[in-house]
């Protein structure tokens, strides 16, 4: 777990951020330190210079003895003064002060005085030297502890600050990464379950609408869609298996019957003919299924051409007219002339035929209209049957779906007609809508974009 946290993106990001942030803190403090440290030292030097100037103001008008006595006086009476003095003549002999003689050098100087501290330890001094006109030398020095203390304070502050930054950064990184890792782990676990086949699983969300929630939301929506599609597929393949088993079974029975009954040639012939009719029905179902698949794959777009819709609808209605008339239910048509769309004539004929066939078979009397709106052509097929419940409007388009058991294979075909019709309508840039007419009966409308 620990090693995994260190490998997480969030931890790496936090670590990188900590390093960058720490570096910038160090740079800022460094600049501040440099500026402040210089300032303190310059202030210190200025004070020392003032003292030196006061001492040597009137030299050489005042005699060296006066400087010496001023120094002794300051040493004895001024606890707030610099505290360390040296006054040498031009030959390097010490005339006054508590510092050992040294080579004269003007300007600021750092020196260490062993045994000069109050506890007898070493003391570090900051001094300011001045060589007088006759070669005498004055040095005023003070304990530089205030400067060093400030410096140490700065350095310690910088160190602690950086340490705190690092600790907070790494710690925060660990905490954040652990949190993220927990959520990712939860997602991973569920994804594994889904991979194993449990499609009902959904990724957890926190309800905070953060980026994880949005991601899991999208993934869950995707899973819903996949599950629905798979469910549809499963349904269709079950239906196919079921619907093909029956005619295949009948086919087998007929062949077996023919084989068992040693009949006349004419009886054999009849059996074989019945078996062939059954095989043809099966092939018809396969054809229809393949056609749906093809149309859905859109491979027929290549066959698109200008189609005379008026003639097409007229012809298809005419094809059903004969059988409708036999039952005394002539199809009535109202077809506006000269309407043309770009599409696949064969498929569009099939779609219209399927709808008219349904209307003739289930709806008693069919009425076919072809009209146009500003944007669409509408082929309306209305019947005078019982209509269908609105809750079934979507389901009847499913392959092999039958509205009621009585609409069985004999009277109702394979249950693929509407599925084909809708697929065709959609690939031809349209759709099919169903509605129950107020005066009774069903209305199917194919709308095709102009």
């Amino acid at each position: 777990m620990r090693a995994r946290i260190l490998r997480t993106t969030s931890f790496r990001l936090t670590a990188l951020y900590t390093v960058v942030f720490g570096a910038s803190v160090a740079v800022i403090l460094g600049i501040l330190y440099w500026a402040t440290e210089g300032y303190t030292e310059r202030q210190f030097d200025a004070t020392l210079t003032t003292v030196v100037t006061e001492l040597t103001e009137d030299y050489p008008n005042d005699p060296p003895e006066e400087i010496a006595s001023d120094i002794e006086q300051s040493l004895a009476q001024d606890p707030l003064g610099p505290g360390f003095y040296l006054f040498e003549d031009r030959d390097g002999r010490r005339l006054a002060g508590n510092l050992p003689a040294m080579a004269p050098a003007p300007g600021p100087v750092d020196l260490t005085l062993p045994g000069g501290g109050k506890d007898g330890g070493e003391v570090r001094l900051r001094g300011m030297g001045k060589i007088l006109v006759d070669g005498a030398f004055v040095l005023v020095a003070a304990d530089r502890a205030p400067i060093d203390d400030l410096q140490e304070l700065w350095l310690r502050g910088l160190g602690w600050g950086l340490l705190a930054t690092a600790v907070l950064g790494v710690g925060g990184g660990l905490v954040v990464s652990a949190g993220v890792l927990r959520r990712v782990d939860a997602i991973n676990r569920i994804c594994l379950k889904i991979m194993e086949g449990d499609l009902s699983q959904r990724l957890p969300g926190r309800g905070t609408d953060d980026e994880f929630d949005r991601l899991t939301g999208v993934v869950n929506a995707m899973l819903d869609r996949i599950e629905a599609l798979l469910e549809g597929l499963r349904q269709v393949s079950t239906d196919i298996a079921h619907d093909l088993r029956t005619p295949l079974g009948r086919l087998r029975q007929q062949l077996e019957g023919a084989l068992l009954r040693s009949g006349t040639a004419a009886e054999y012939e009849r059996s074989v003919e019945r078996a062939m009719a059954e095989a043809d029905r099966l092939l018809g179902i396969f054809n229809a299924l393949l056609r749906i698949a093809q149309v859905e794959a859109g491979s027929r777009r290549r066959g698109f051409a200008r189609v005379d819709l008026s003639a097409l609808v007229g012809t298809v209605a005419d094809v059903f007219q004969a059988s409708a008339e036999e039952q005394g239910r002539a199809i009535r048509c109202r077809i506006e002339p000269e309407m043309a769309v770009t599409g696949d004539a064969d498929l569009l004929s099939q779609a219209v035929a399927n709808l008219i066939e349904n209307a003739v078979v289930y709806g008693k009397r069919a009425r076919v209209c072809l009209t146009q709106t500003p944007k669409e052509f509408e082929i309306r097929i209305e019947d005078e049957g019982p209509g269908i419940p609105e809750t079934e409007f979507e389901r009847v388009f499913r392959p092999f779906y039958r509205l009621e058991p009585s609409r069985n294979r004999e009277s109702g075909g394979a249950g693929l007609g509407l599925a084909i019709a809708r697929t065709v309508a959609r690939t031809n840039g349209g759709d099919i809508a169903l509605a129950n007419r107020t005066e009774g009966g069903l209305r199917a409308t194919i709308a095709l974009r102009k």
């Binding site: 003919e273 092939l283 018809g284 396969f286 054809n287 393949l290 056609r291 698949a293 093809q294 491979s299 027929r300 290549r302 066959g303 012809t315 298809v316 005419d318 094809v319 059903f320 007219q321 004969a322 059988s323 036999e326 004539a345 064969d346 004929s349 099939q350 035929a353 066939e357 075909g413």
Partner: protein, 225 residues
């Protein structure tokens, strides 16, 4: 007729070859594209029956090449289930007819023979005849034994197709395609109904039926040729 069959599936090839041979045609079968092309290019055949998917050179490319080489022998394409959408491509490549598998032998036979006739027929004919039946294509009129017969447009088209193929079997599918322009079976009796109306109008007492129903195959106008 001399028929070249280009088909790689041995079972289908045998089924087709046997069926065509049994009906008096001379069949030569080839199971791959390049040899099929050479045989077809020899010009020794009246009809080519070409499977869409043959090894080495597929049916479409083969026919396209033949047409480019100005071999105008009529071509009937055979295609497996699921390739129906390629009908347009097949016709564009230079095919003359298109038959999806699986097909019934009578269907294939009727189409092959119709293709052969079409190739020999002159299109300039304006009057079609069969016995005492006469159709004038320019005046759009039909008469039997000199007596005029009134036909609806659809019946006229139906009779025209029967006359052009007089003496030969035409199938229901062929009629649906040419007269109604439908390439699927709409499960109606539209052909039967029109045929029965046409028969009624053509009927003449005391003479034989002009249109014969051939069981399991289709219809034939007049005595077999």
């Amino acid at each position: 007729m001399r028929i070249l069959l280009i088909e790689d599936d041995a079972d289908t090839a045998a089924y087709v070859a046997d069926g065509l041979t049994a009906n008096g045609h001379a069949v030569e079968a080839v199971d791959e594209g390049p040899r099929g092309f050479l045989a077809a290019a020899s010009g020794a055949f009246d009809i080519l029956v070409v499977d869409r998917m043959v090894p080495k050179l597929d049916g479409l490319a083969l026919v396209r090449r033949l047409r480019a080489a100005e071999v105008e022998t009529p071509v009937l394409f055979l295609t497996a289930l699921g390739e129906m959408e390629d009908r347009v491509a097949g016709l564009e490549a230079g095919g003359d007819d298109y038959l999806p598998k699986p097909f019934a032998l009578p269907e294939l036979l009727a189409r092959v023979e119709a293709l052969g006739r079409r190739a020999r027929q002159s299109t300039a004919e304006t009057v079609l005849r069969c016995g005492d039946l006469e159709m004038d294509l320019l005046r759009r009129s039909v008469s039997r034994a000199g007596r005029p017969i009134e036909l609806m447009p659809r019946e006229f088209q139906l009779l025209e197709y029967l006359l052009r193929n007089a003496g030969h079997v035409v199938t229901k599918t062929m009629l649906l395609e040419t007269v109604w322009h439908l390439r699927f079976d709409p499960n109606t009796n539209v052909v039967e109904a029109h045929m029965s109306r046409l028969r009624g109008k053509l009927h003449r007492p005391a003479s034989a039926e002009l249109i014969t129903t051939i069981r399991g195959a289709g219809y034939r106008l007049g005595p077999p040729a």
